[in-house]
Symmetry: C2
Subunit: 205 residues, 2 copies
């Protein structure tokens, strides 16, 4: 409910009603409403970390790694079959930061971002910590986040429901191919498979 309606709009009465608990329970167990929110946030990115860290094979060519990373990220953001409140809660925390944001950044966002930067570094032969690589990574993240950030607007601009389950892998293909096209000139020899390296790995349902 915090994810869906925001901290302020989610009332303890509704939360307790949905949980089948008494209103006084939140004060009894968490001190106050914000204590409950912090607890929710904690289990949120515990869950998030456990789910995502797997899935990007370290020995595959970097093109495939990029496709796998984008796919994992988009599934985490959009897959209707997994709890949507996880990414929604983090989105909210970014747009409207509470004192709890720092913890989310260090424990959940940075490791994932560094992983992506590593893949781009491997693709281009540049240093993972370089400004250029990190800005490219930001561009990749931006292309993914917009789908979670304003799906309603995108549905209207594209004329389709982006959030539908089948579309996710298509989106991941499109994003990673676009990124690879953009990096074409910078790509170094070994893994060079003319953009096809990333294909065919999709876990289509």
């Amino acid at each position: 409910m915090f994810a869906e309606r925001g901290y302020r709009d989610a009332t303890v009465r509704e939360i307790c009603a949905a949980a089948g608990a008494n209103i006084a329970a939140v004060s009894y167990y968490f001190g106050d409403k914000f204590g409950l929110y912090r607890a929710v946030l904690r289990v949120a990115h515990d869950e998030s970390r456990r789910r995502h860290m797997s899935g990007v094979p370290g020995d595959a060519p970097p093109e495939a790694q990029l496709r796998a990373w984008v796919g994992g990220f988009l599934r985490k953001l959009l897959d209707p079959e997994r709890p949507q409140w996880l990414p929604r809660l983090m989105m909210r925390e970014m747009v409207e930061p509470t004192p709890a944001l720092d913890e989310v950044i260090e424990e959940s966002i940075r490791p994932q971002f560094d992983q992506l930067a590593g893949i781009i570094a491997a693709l281009t032969g540049r240093r993972r910590a370089s400004r250029w690589v990190r800005e490219e990574a930001v561009a990749v993240v931006g292309q993914c986040l917009i789908f979670r950030h304003c799906p309603v607007v995108l549905d209207r601009m594209l004329g389709v429901k982006v959030l539908s389950a089948g579309r996710i892998e298509e989106l991941a293909d499109a994003v990673s191919e676009r990124v690879l096209r953009g990096l074409e000139k910078e790509r170094r020899g070994p893994g060079r498979v003319a953009g096809r390296g990333a294909r065919g790995r999709g876990v289509r349902p």
Copy 2:
């Protein structure tokens, strides 16, 4: 105040106090709180449209148009010298849509988006309304929006303050160059009367 604290958290009493007006004025002039919000939203994107529509020269080469569009968009989002509440308000409306979102989409977002799609169409020779062009446009928007969406996180990931005034043009350069790199293969020559219609081989399967 709606932009800074959200519709719900901004109270009528605070707004009226800051405006030097009486509390009953909002009921008298706007009907209720939401009427006031809609009025604010209206002047917001009136202002927004007036400011942005200028500046993208229609007769320049499409590469320059793209750079101008991105620059204008990023300045609108980030320039600390112009009122920040404008883009913040729209961001909020996207993340947490109210019944007023429809109006914002049609009157403010869509014209701007179509303008970008037109530029990409001119760059690649594809139809402005095609799915491919519109998805490329979404990618451009995504790369820009992320800077307004979660500046705090980006500062931490990049190790610099992205919002500083001097950086905006650098960012615009980086984004438009990255996009042009990604469209390289699709670009048609500067002699721009080349064949109309769908350019043979689609990238999409």
